[in-house]
Subunit: 332 residues, 2 copies
DNA sequence: TATAATCGCGTTAGCGCTAACGTAATCTGG
DNA sequence: CCAGATTACGTTAGCGCTAACGCGATTATA
C-alpha cells in the first residue's frame, strides 16, 4: 500500500512540459494554452496526482486551512456551530482544525499555539475561557479571526453574535400579549455572558411593557433540571401570584416545568413557561415547551462567511448578529 | 498585527549556533549539549518562536496531523466519538481534520482527496457510505486507517467496533431473568449494519434462552418516535400476549412507550421496554428508559489509540470491540 | 600511547510547490 | 512592415525545516 504518491514533477515529466505549466494548469491560472491545460489536467487525473497542500502552504505562505476553537464539541451547540462553519469552508475547499479546550484556559492556549504551528489562515473562537486581554493577544496572532458572542475587536478581527437580548425581549412581549402580568425570570449562572444579555432583555422587555423589574421575580440557578426545579419553587414561594416564567435555557425550563407540577400549578393555564435553545426534548416534554430557537448552524455559516471575507482582505466586517425565533408550543 | 513570525533561522542567528542545533534542541533530539539546549529553548520561547508544522511536514514527510471522516457531527454519536478521539490525539500533540460527509458518497470521496492533499498520517472512518470495495480503495491511500463498526481489513487497516450483538444478547438475558417470555423486537432500518447486528443478538439471545425467534415478534420501522409508536401498535395487534419489547434505539423505544400507552398497556407491569444508546432524554421520560449504553467517547479514544499504534508501526492490531452496558431504569 | 568510539556541533541537499522573472513566438495597429 | 504588446511557456530561487553526513575535540579501550 501507500505506493509513493506522484508529484508535480512526475506529471510534468510525463506530460513533457515544465513544472510551472502543470502548476498553472492545475490551479486554473493564466499562462497556459487551453489545449495544454486540458491534457495536463487529464493526465494528472489519470496519474492520481493530488497537489500537496503542505508544499503549497510552504511556498505560498497560505495554507488554505482554518481553525475553530471552542470548549466542547460534545455540546450540541458547538457541534452544530462547527458543522455550519465547516459546510461553508468545504465549499471554498478549505480544511479546518477543530480544537476542544475542555473549558481549560491552559488547553486553549496550547490550542492556539498548535494552530499557529499549523500556519492556519484564520480562526473562529467561541466561548473562550481566556480573559479579554489574553484572548485579544491570542487571536491577534492570526491573519484573521472571528469571535462568536464576544465583543472584542481589533484589526482583522470580526464579531458574530446571537442577539439574546432581543430574543428575550420578544418572549416578554409575547407573554404580555397573552395577558401575563407577573413574569418571573430564572437567570442562570452569573458568570455567563449570554445569561447577562438575557437578563438585560428581560428587564428591557418589562420596562417597554410599562412594568418594572422586581428583584423578587428574578432567581439565579445552576443551569440543569434540578436547578430549574428548585428556582421555580423559590419563585413560587416568594411570589405566589406569578403567571409566567422565562428560563435561562430549555434544560432549566424543563426543570421549571417539574417544579411547577410539584407545586400543583398547571402549565400554561396557571403559569406560562418559555425556554431558550429549542433542544430536541423541548418538543417532547409535556406540555411541549415554547422556546427561543437560535439558528446555530446559520450562526456557524455566518461566522465562516465573515472569516472568508476577512481572509480575502475585505477588512471591514461590522458586527453581525443572529436573532432567535420564538417557537410557540403548548407551554406559553 | 501578524508581525512576521520568527523562523528557526532567526533563532539560530540570535543564539549564535547553526540551524540544526536549534532543530535538535527544540525537538529533544540528541546531539546537543545540555547547556546549549536549555539556552536555545529559552531563547526560542522568548522570541515567540513556533516551529512550522508545514515546513516540518514537507521535510519529514510526516505531518503529525490525522483525519476523521464521518457523516455528520451534528449527530451526537459522531460528535462524542470525535471528541474522544481528539482528546487522545491532543495528548500526542497531533492535530486532526474532521470531515463531514453529509451522508453523501461524493462528498466522502472529496473528503478523502482533501485529506490526501493534506498529507495526513492516518485516518479514522465511521459510518462510511461507500461500497466496501471503494472504501477499501480509499483508506488504502493512507499510511494507516482505523474503521469504526466495519469489518474491512487490509495492511495498515484496523477495526474498532461496538459489540451490538453482545449488548442485545445481554438485554434478552435480563428480560428472561425478569420472567418475560414473549419478547418482541423493533428492528430499525434494514440497510443499517448495527440494526443487523442487533437483530442477530436478539435471535441468538432467544435461542440461548431456549426459545425460538418468531417472525411475528419482529417489526421493522423508521427510527424515529412515530416509527416506534407505529411498530408497537403493529406488534401488539399481532401478538397481544407480548410482555417485552427491545427497540432498535432509544428514540424508537420512546415511540414504543407512546404506542404502548395509547394501547392502554402499562410499562413495565404489562410490557417491559429496552432501548439502545442512552440518549439524555432516556432518563427523563416516564417511565425512565432501561437502555444499552455505549461508551462512545471510549470508542473514539480506542480508535485513536489504535491509529497511533498503527502510525508508530505496530502493524498488528486485531479487531477491538467495546461492549455496551445495560442501564437498568424503570421500563424494564 | 595509539586507536576507536563518542560527543557536540556544522554543512549540504533536498521535501513539493509557487512567485517572479526570462524568453521566444505570435499578434496588433498605425 | 516593424515597434510594442501579448501569449505560452521555461528557469531560478526560495518557503522553513530536517536527514544524512562531516569533522574536530574529548573520552574510553586495548
Amino acid at each position: 500500500m501507500a505506493n509513493k504518491r506522484s508529484t508535480i514533477e512526475d506529471v510534468a515529466r510525463v506530460a513533457g512540459v515544465s513544472l510551472m505549466t502543470v502548476s498553472r494548469a492545475i490551479n486554473g491560472r493564466p499562462g497556459v494554452g487551453e489545449e495544454t491545460r486540458r491534457s495536463v489536467i487529464e493526465l494528472a487525473e489519470r496519474m492520481g496526482y493530488r497537489p500537496s497542500r503542505v508544499a503549497r502552504g510552504l511556498a505560498t505562505r497560505r495554507t488554505a486551512t482554518l481553525g475553530i476553537v471552542f470548549p466542547d464539541m460534545a455540546n450540541p451547540f458547538f457541534a452544530i456551530l462547527a458543522k455550519g462553519a465547516t459546510d461553508i469552508a468545504r465549499a471554498a475547499d478549505l480544511n479546518v482544525f477543530i480544537m476542544n479546550t475542555d473549558e481549560d484556559p491552559e488547553l486553549e492556549l496550547t490550542a492556539f499555539d498548535s494552530l499557529i504551528e499549523e500556519h492556519i489562515d484564520g480562526v473562529i473562537v467561541a466561548a473562550s475561557r481566556l480573559p479579554r486581554r489574553r484572548l485579544l493577544e491570542q487571536v491577534s496572532r492570526f491573519g484573521s479571526a472571528v469571535l462568536v458572542n464576544s465583543d472584542i475587536g481589533g484589526p482583522g478581527i470580526a464579531n458574530v453574535d446571537v442577539d439574546d437580548r432581543w430574543g428575550i425581549l420578544e418572549a416578554v412581549k409575547h407573554l404580555v400579549a397573552c395577558g401575563r402580568r407577573r413574569i418571573a425570570f430564572v437567570a442562570g449562572p452569573r458568570e455567563s455572558g449570554s445569561a447577562r444579555r438575557r437578563l438585560a432583555g428581560y428587564r428591557a422587555g418589562l420596562v417597554r411593557a410599562g412594568m418594572s423589574p422586581e428583584p423578587s421575580l428574578i432567581e439565579r440557578c445552576i443551569p440543569d433540571i434540578e436547578g430549574g426545579s428548585r428556582a421555580a419553587a423559590v419563585l413560587l414561594s416568594r411570589e405566589p401570584s406569578l403567571d409566567a416564567i422565562i428560563a435561562y435555557n430549555d434544560i432549566t425550563a424543563i426543570g421549571v416545568l417539574r417544579g411547577l407540577a410539584e407545586s400543583g400549578r398547571r402549565v400554561p393555564a396557571d403559569v406560562a413557561v418559555i425556554g431558550v435553545d429549542d433542544v430536541p426534548y423541548a418538543a417532547l416534554v409535556r406540555p411541549s415547551l415554547t422556546t427561543l430557537k437560535v439558528d446555530i448552524s446559520g450562526l456557524g455559516r455566518l461566522a465562516m462567511g465573515v472569516l472568508l471575507e476577512l481572509r480575502a482582505g475585505q477588512e471591514l466586517a461590522p458586527m453581525e448578529a443572529i436573532r432567535p425565533q420564538l417557537i410557540i408550543r403548548e407551554s406559553a
